[in-house]
């Protein structure tokens, strides 16, 4: 008996498979990260569709649930890749988000919240004033979705929930400015917009948010897998730095 599902998905990548096919990997809203063969995936018609970051409507079919299977049909619904090709930073953000999803999520496990956050990020990539901060929230959201969320609700030392300004690199718990100040050199800075979504994003906040998320991504995901942070993240931070958007 064959199995199949239909879902909205973000293309994470594709590579040639034989002469005319492609092996595509997508991140589907209700079915998580899945790879399958796309017949005709190497064709002129399908190559633009199978670009990283594009949103597609896809049906996965296989004879049994544990087979590789194939995607058919696979139809483009939102061409995000073409939108960001000319923007180095946005392109790096899209690539990096895909790299993190690929590294962090388990095969065929749904992460609907993470998918929705990815879509919000992709939709925002045309708005340079907004998306760098949003991107860092995506990284922290990814950590939370994978069970490594930071505890930013209250100060670990005093229990207060206002003026949170630091995060412990060991526990991932927040600390207020006054409680954390004596240990400032040992703590990670918590930008106000991370603790409070309504707070404005000031100069240096995005860099602090990258440092905060990067610390935990590296130790809780990438170190455990035995490889370093993706190159795309370094390129993203450099591109934002050159444009003064950190």
């Amino acid at each position: 008996m064959s199995v199949e599902w239909t879902d909205d998905a973000i293309v994470l990548g594709a590579r040639p498979y034989g002469e005319t096919q492609a092996l595509a990997e997508v991140f589907a809203r209700g079915h998580g990260r899945a790879a399958a063969i796309v017949h005709g995936g190497a064709s002129r018609r399908m190559k633009p569709v199978l670009q990283l970051g594009n949103v597609v409507r896809v049906t996965w079919k296989a004879r049994t649930a544990d087979q590789l299977g194939f995607f058919a049909p696979l139809e483009l619904t939102d061409p995000h890749a073409a939108r960001v090709l000319d923007d180095q930073a946005a392109l790096a953000a899209m690539s990096c988000a895909a790299d993190l999803v690929r590294a962090g999520t388990a095969d065929r496990q749904p992460y609907a919240g993470l998918y929705d956050a990815f879509i919000v990020l992709l939709d925002a990539l045309g708005t340079p004033d907004i998306w760098p901060a949003l991107y860092t929230r995506f990284e922290l959201g990814l950590l939370a979705e994978l069970g490594y969320g930071l505890d930013l609700g209250e100060c670990a030392l005093t229990g207060a929930n206002d003026d949170l300004a630091f995060v412990s690199p060991k526990t991932g718990r927040a600390a207020t400015r006054s409680a954390g100040e004596p240990y400032a050199d040992k703590l990670l800075r918590l930008p106000p917009f991370i603790a409070n979504p309504a707070a404005p994003v000031e100069s240096g906040d995005v860099a602090d948010a990258f440092a905060l998320a990067g610390w935990f991504l590296e130790r809780r995901i990438f170190d455990r897998q035995g490889h370093g942070m993706p190159d795309s993240r370094r390129r993203l931070i450099e591109a934002l730095g050159h444009r003064g958007r950190l």
Partner: protein, 204 residues
């Protein structure tokens, strides 16, 4: 699925078919047909092909300047005095050089990167011939570097990376336009190409 292996042929023929089947564009059945044609035309096809393969294996090498393939080093294009020494066209693979040469639209020199950056395939900057490009671009006669990489996420990620690496070099860095292909009909174009064409529109 029925196997296309031939149970009764000699190991020599089977080996020939196996090797031919590894050539891009040839499946196993096509390889069988090709092997048969070669064996039928032993003197006019098989022997010359074998000779050509040996010569190509012995003589063809990557050009130390541009990375393209030729039997001489530097390659014929790099060594040609009639090519514009001030233009360098950066491509991903040797096949891209051949495509541009087929079109006959570029009279400068090339630089073959040897691929593009790709997280999926684990291709990093140090796997590409980027340092050599920067070195070549810094030569006083070079005035423009044209980045002619695929209009894909990986291709354009590489293009941005190269642009950044070339920032300290006194050359103009340009890239190929993206948009409607010649002979293309709008209603048949994908949304991404239409978007790129609209974004890259210019005064008429």
């Amino acid at each position: 699925m029925r196997s296309s292996r031939l149970p009764s042929v000699s190991p020599e023929i089977e080996k020939l078919i196996d090797l031919l089947a590894k050539v891009p564009g040839l499946g196993r059945r096509s390889a069988q047909r090709a092997a048969l044609a070669l064996l039928k035309k032993r003197d006019t096809l098989l022997a010359p092909l074998a000779q050509a393969l040996v010569e190509a294996s012995e003589k063809v090498k990557a050009c130390s300047a541009c990375g393209s393939l030729d039997a001489m080093d530097p390659c014929a294009i790099c060594a040609s005095p009639t090519r514009d020494q001030g233009l360098i066209c950066v491509v991903g693979e040797v096949g891209d050089v051949w495509a541009l040469e087929r079109a006959g639209v570029f009279r400068g020199r090339y630089h073959v990167l040897g691929g593009v950056l790709s997280a999926l395939d684990g291709v990093r900057p140090e796997d590409l011939r980027v340092g050599k490009l920067v070195e070549r671009a810094a030569a006083p006669e070079v005035r423009e570097v044209i980045i002619a990489l695929n209009a894909t996420v990986d291709g354009q990620t590489t293009a941005h990376y190269l642009t950044e690496r070339l920032q300290g070099v006194d050359v103009a860095v340009t890239r190929l336009a993206h948009g409607v292909p010649v002979g293309g009909e709008l209603e048949l174009l994908d949304e991404g190409t239409l978007l790129a064409a609209l974004t890259s529109r210019r005064p008429f």
